[in-house]
């Protein structure tokens, strides 16, 4: 991708941002030699990377290279897959997420997840947002109201739905639904937001809205986003990891990856020669 295009896409001024090399940034998530298997099929091979705190990390790579698998490993959604297993370790804030003393539920409360296909529950808009609190046993009306408003405002949806909070979430438009899912993901006040191709089913206007939202959210949250859209990765992320066939090929500052990748494979993929 030509340098001018990259510059044009980036909204941030290049100078003054706290972008440092992945090795020196304080990682919130540490992936240490992580292998993952679906039955006998190995999907991830010796992944080793650190996800920096309060920054946006993009995972890119051709279809089937294991981006979703890695993302879903972070909040242990892959536990649900029959016959799956892993080797190596992932640490969250220094503590292994596979520690038997650590409850999966409390781990998942620390990470909001936004899926490729928006998946609102068959409930009202309000109940969708406060769902995470409800299942945690929080039923105090005032707390819930406050969280609903804060989360919907943070997801830039409040103005559109504040008069119809009691209506079914399934009546919203696709883009609104996805923002509702983001509101739901941040209602638990997580440290990390995991996003798996959050814009792939949306039109450009809705996509822009979500990208702007990511920009806002990264002030408070660490964000990991899987995307197939190179421009999107360039626009929203601080760090980019390129995966190929289950291996991490290159992980560096987004600018570095897009302007002067050190691996030939990365360059080929970014310039659209394959993938």
């Amino acid at each position: 991708m030509p340098a001018e295009l990259f510059k044009a896409l980036r909204r941030e001024p290049d100078a003054g941002t706290n972008v440092t090399a992945p090795e020196t940034a304080r990682p919130l998530i540490d992936v240490e030699g992580y292998n993952f298997y679906y039955g006998s099929k190995q999907a991830l091979f010796g992944i080793r990377m650190g996800i920096p705190e309060k920054q946006v990390t993009a995972l890119i790579g051709p279809s089937g290279c294991g981006k979703s698998t890695l993302l879903r490993s972070f909040n242990r959604m892959n536990d649900l897959v029959e016959g799956s297993r892993h080797e190596g370790n992932i640490r969250l804030g220094g503590r292994s997420i596979f520690d038997p003393a650590l409850e999966v539920i409390s781990l998942r409360r620390r990470m909001g997840m936004v899926f490729q296909k928006s998946n609102p529950f068959p409930k009202s808009i309000y109940e969708n947002v406060v769902y995470g609190l409800r299942v945690a046993g929080q039923n105090d009306r005032r707390t819930l109201d406050a969280v609903a408003e804060r989360s919907l405002k943070a997801a830039a949806l409040w103005d559109e739905v504040k008069d119809q909070l009691g209506e079914s979430a399934l009546k919203l438009s696709g883009g609104q639904m996805q923002r509702l899912c983001i509101a739901r993901a941040i209602a638990n006040n997580p440290e990390i937001i995991l996003m798996d191709e959050p814009c792939s089913a949306l039109d450009p206007v809705a996509t822009t809205k979500i990208e702007e939202l990511i920009f806002e959210l990264k002030k408070d949250y660490t964000i990991v986003i899987v995307t197939h859209n190179m421009q999107q990765a360039a626009r929203v992320s601080d760090w980019t990891a390129f995966f190929y066939l289950g291996r991490l090929v290159e992980f560096d500052g987004t600018k570095k990856i897009f302007l002067s990748p050190s691996q030939k494979q990365t360059e080929d993929y970014i310039t659209g020669r394959f993938g």
């Binding site: 909040n75 997840m113 529950f121 299942v135």
Partner: protein, 326 residues
């Protein structure tokens, strides 16, 4: 005392007799005690006749039967059918849904699961009379006599629960219709998208919370379909009921204004059995013919009505969470 008074009344009644001379010159004597109401059809105007017909039909629906069921109304049978069907549906739904949740969400695939599935499917093919025999043996003689011994000991040897009753009849039919509910509920659970479940888990919900709060509401319309099918199957069933609590004439209703309102041990009347009784057990089946047809119509109308009510509920559920996506 009472006997003397009754004899007095009866002789008074016999004393007043209506003498009529018919058009062909015959004289007829009718004791007034046998007259329930009279009218002159030829003297009626059209609207009066219509009113008469409506009144007659209303009496048919709302009155107790007379003359060994061959005359009068069928109200106790309508009411009995209604109570039994509702009770059965209320009993079968939670049971069927729980079974479906177990089969779909918790059971590990394997020999056991396959065995249970086959058993459920076979249950659907068992003739209903066999369920009646089972209900009699298990519910009435087994559970019923046990309950009697423990809770109604002072009433023995007269059985309270140890004989057919509306509760045992409902349970028997619930058992018969449970495969329908299980299959329908399982299908609708399976149709809840994986993404919805994952979304709930990712919010920090446990598996059971996910099922209770997200999967079941999403599957509710499909579960209602199972409920409707079960109701339709159960409401028209007669054969097993004859063994577990339906009677030709029940002096009391299973549900009334006397505490505790629902009397699950009472025997009850049922439209289906009423049809059988009128058409095949009455002394003059030719004379009972109109009653048989009318009762059949009422039975069908009742089933349609119950189904419509359930369909309305389902429509409401659907609309509440309808997705007008994109």
């Amino acid at each position: 005392m009472l006997a003397r008074r009754a004899k007095d009344l009866r002789s008074q009644e016999a004393a007043s007799v209506l003498h009529i001379r018919l058009a062909d010159g015959r004289a007829v004597r009718i004791p007034t005690g046998k007259i329930i109401r009279y009218y002159q059809p030829n003297a009626l105007s059209a609207p009066e006749r219509l009113g008469m017909a409506v009144m007659n039909f209303w009496r048919f629906l709302s009155e107790d039967p007379r003359e060994a069921n061959t005359e009068g109304g069928i109200f106790p049978a309508i009411f009995g059918t209604f109570v039994m069907t509702v009770l059965m549906s209320v009993l079968v739904t939670p049971f069927g849904v729980l079974a479906a949740i177990y089969l779909r969400e918790y059971a590990k695939p394997g020999l056991w699961l396959r065995g249970v599935r086959i058993a459920v499917n076979n249950l659907a093919g068992v003739p209903s009379i066999v369920f009646g025999v089972f209900g009699l043996g298990f519910f009435v003689y087994g559970v019923g006599s046990f309950v009697d011994r423990w809770f109604f000991g002072e009433a023995l040897p007269t059985p309270t629960f140890g004989t057919g009753g509306v509760l045992w009849a409902s349970l028997t039919l619930a058992l018969m219709t449970v495969p329908v509910v299980i299959v329908a509920a399982e299908e609708s659970l399976a149709s809840v998208p994986k993404g919805t479940r994952e979304g709930s888990l990712a919010c920090g919900a446990s598996k059971w919370q996910t099922i209770r709060r997200v999967v079941l509401p999403a599957a509710a319309p499909g579960i209602m379909t199972g409920f409707i099918l079960a109701m339709a199957r159960g409401a028209g069933e007669v054969a097993p009921l004859m063994l577990v609590g339906v009677v030709k004439y029940a002096p009391t209703l299973p549900l009334d204004g006397i505490f505790p309102f629902l009397h699950p041990e009472r025997k009850f009347m049922h439209l289906g059995f009423h049809i059988y009784d009128l058409g095949f057990q009455s002394p003059d089946s030719e004379a009972a013919k109109p009653m048989v047809f009318a009762t059949t119509l009422v039975l069908i109308a009742l089933v349609v009505l119950l189904n419509l009510a359930a369909i309305l509920v389902r429509k409401n559920l659907r609309r509440k969470y309808a997705g007008g996506t994109f």
